[in-house]
Amino acid sequence: MDKKVAIVGIGTTGFRATTPDVSYRELTYEAATKAYLDAGIEPQEVGAFVATSEDFLEGYSISDEYSPDQLGAVLKSIHTVPGDFIQGLGNGVMLIMSGYADIVVVQGMSKASNMVTKGDLLTFAADPFAWRPLQESPHAIAAMEMNRFLYESGNTIEQCAQVVVKNRRNALLNPRAALGAALELEDVLNADPVAEPLCRLDIAQHADGAVVCVLASQEKVGSLKGNPIWVRDVSWATETNALDSRTWGEAVYMQLAAEKAYRMAGIRTPAKEIDFAELNDEYSYKELQHIEALGLCAWGESGKLSEIGWSERTGEFPVNTAGGCLGCGHLFELDGGQKVLDAVLQLRGQAGELQLKTANTAVAAGWRGVPTTTGAVVVLGN
């Protein structure tokens, strides 16, 4: 990128299964207050705001109009990206690179606990002629993808279960995570089947929470306190949504997003030049599929590597150091926000008990969940 942009502040509420004590407004307000304190700014200094949300998740239409107050964005430039947090981050980067603003705030929020009919909400995303009449569960769509991925790559169900064990254990040490648990491999393999080969524990449970991130131009960074984390590049891609003709084995969308981000960040051998990854693991197999799509190991190798501890915090290439979706929760469009948060904390050396020894360059990657084929990738460095 020809103009440098840094993350200069980040704040979160942490993630919990329910948040009956606060409305969505207070949830974002808490994360925003922490982010502004972290960056040492007042919202008056912010040039533009980017919110990420999706009307059906919020429960009312034109929900973007409800986002300014709790960000301190009243009478300011704000727009909403109906996509993953990392796509919102990309919009924030563009606002700075284009010269529109020096400081930009990016927000993401999940109030999953307020969606009473989550199952219906997901089926409402189904294509009206090709899928809905068949009434096949979104988890079944994921299971078909898992089956094809395992078939083509040679990875196994046991290796997917290993991902669950690792991420839920990492979450035990993460004070922001909702779903820490000391599970054994057998617990995962023996859990009730949902849509075989997926079982209950392969699927991330929903959670509430908010993340707010402050971006600044290189010129501005010098006058701000704190520890800037540089956005080396950000990219996103979407494959066809057609269930009858999409690529079922590989996460092509993530591969394309990563290739573009790496090219622009000047990364040629990601596994060597990147120290760790925070990536979407909404279903256990997604971690393996995304590791391979991000080029962090050879095709078909992620499962074997996971078995020998390669992706553990103490391993050669740590993945989802704070628990990922399986440990923190499925946060809908905030997925990438949780990934960026944990990458930033590691890169700053602020990850507490989860801190890695070497954390200079990270990749964070979000996926928009079933039935989407959208992935967003950001490369971050300290």
Binding site: D21, P43, G59
Partner: protein, 180 residues
């Protein structure tokens, strides 16, 4: 385009009638979404609704800008700080703006000629809250033609046993005399 060619097109164009769709001549897909939400109101709106049930209106003060916010908020969106003490306000106020609506909220036309009274929604600046702070409600039991900007109004509450912690615990606002 010449007229001859246009006529040829007109002959081939078929317009779609309602019976073509309902009669199954045209294949369509339909779906009725089952979407249900239960929103957490948070401390400010929860207290506001609980007070409405008691027949009271409550706001919250920001000690920095000295505004009394109504409905109450946990933070001041202008000063960017948590708000301070709870403040009961009056159930009287002044009309900031209003209109005479001949359509219902789904844009269906009301049978005004048949004797249905138009809806008269209004924003009412509540006494005790800061200037510009008020609630969206409605005015009733008065001739719509008599509603004026700046008119003084008072809440007409539902009987206590029928109140449920909703803004409809106030049935409507009615005109009163000038502020003393």
């Amino acid at each position: 385009m010449d007229i001859k060619h246009q006529k040829k097109i007109d002959k081939t164009v078929t317009s779609l009638r309602k019976k073509d769709v309902t009669g199954g001549k045209v294949v369509t897909e339909s779906w009725e979404p089952n979407l249900e939400y239960a929103w957490d109101n948070g401390p400010a709106i929860s207290r506001y609704l609980a007070e409405l049930k008691k027949g009271k209106l409550i706001g919250k003060r920001c000690n920095k800008c000295d505004r009394v916010l109504l409905p109450p908020r946990m933070f001041c969106e202008i000063c960017w700080r948590p708000t301070d003490e709870w403040v009961y306000v009056e159930d009287t106020g002044t009309v900031n703006t209003f209109c005479i609506s001949h359509v219902d909220w789904k844009a269906g036309r009301l049978n005004i000629k048949g004797g249905v009274r138009p809806f008269t929604p209004a924003v009412i600046e509540i006494d005790g809250a800061s200037k510009g702070m008020g609630i969206l409600h409605m005015i009733d039991k008065t001739n719509p033609k008599n509603i004026k900007m700046g008119m003084r109004v008072k809440a007409v509450w539902k009987p206590a046993e029928k109140r449920e912690g909703s803004i409809t615990d106030i049935e409507y606002f009615k005109p009163i005399g000038k502020k003393k």
